[in-house]
């Protein structure tokens, strides 16, 4: 899995300052949001599961992972149907991706800061 740099170029149109702010916010807010999602799922608080999945979706795209949005959309649907086992499986898949994604986002943030990209 790789960051979709073509997608990022379309999104930010070369505005490094804009990209930096978004990456920074993601690195600050991303993990707490995912923790909120996990907590809501464990409590089977389905409206909250939908809400957090819905909010995290565009954030993943903003740091170059638009494909991960699809996994979260499926999780939103599972929450709407209150399908606990399906939701757990989807969340687990998402977490595997998230754990890999975070360091890649941090690295890209660093490259942006240093003007490498």
């Amino acid at each position: 899995m790789e960051i979709d740099r073509i997608y990022l170029r379309e999104l930010y149109m070369g505005d490094r300052a804009y990209a930096l702010e978004m990456f920074e916010l993601f690195l600050e807010e991303g993990t707490p949001q995912v923790e909120n999602l996990r907590r809501a799922l464990n409590q089977e608080a389905w409206p909250e599961v939908r809400y957090y999945a819905h909010k995290i979706k565009p954030a993943m795209a903003m740091v170059g992972f638009p494909g991960v949005s699809l996994a979260l959309e499926k999780l939103e649907m599972a929450a709407r149907e209150e399908n606990s086992s399906q939701a757990q499986v989807l969340f687990s898949r998402f977490m595997d991706l998230f754990i890999k994604i975070k360091p890649m986002v941090a690295e890209t943030y660093s490259e942006l800061q240093n003007g490498i990209i």
């Binding site: 379309e10 916010l25 819905h54 979706k57």
Partner: protein, 225 residues
Amino acid sequence: MIVDDDALARKSMEKLCEKTTHLEVISVCASAAEAINKINENQIDLILLDIEMPDKTGLELLDELSYQPQIVFVTSNRDYAFEAFEYQVTDFVKKPVKVKRFMAAVDKAIKVQEGIEAYKKRSGDLYIRSEGRYIRLNINDIFFFENVGDYVRVKTETDAYIIHSTLKNIDRNLRDPRFLRIHRTYIINLDKIKDIKENTLVIDKDVIPISRANKSILMSRLNFL
């Protein structure tokens, strides 16, 4: 105005708005409740509005407004497209919003605003809200606007109305060259001046003060033989 409960989304909208000189961000709100008061107290031309928010949805927010500015819905969920149509919003953009798509939405909003302004200019009428109703006035019949505490008195040929507004708001929205602010408490219709003395002028039976700062502007707008 930007309304979104998500910090990343709010910042993204702010950064996109910075890319165009056509927009001035007056307010950024993190909830519908925070936004409703600000919208009803100010003249907002355009709202970039999220739909799914914890306290109230963007759709519920629209139901509580005393007027509807232009709306661009900004959301991750295409399911709301039908409702967007029902509310006659200007545009509906999916998050995350790309620069090109944002600019296309801004262009749409500008065209709509130009259409509104053209209609207002053509119609020669305006509406004021007084005592719970909207009253249609012909601009030609208005003598002046007078600041009275938290209200404004609108004096016409036949009547006087009290409206909840400020001269600053009226000055900004009226945009008619016949009207000029000549004192901190008066905006007058230049076509209704009867005579001018040193620091006052007369409209109908009212004697209206002219501030020193506005005297020269007033005199420059009149035709003298």
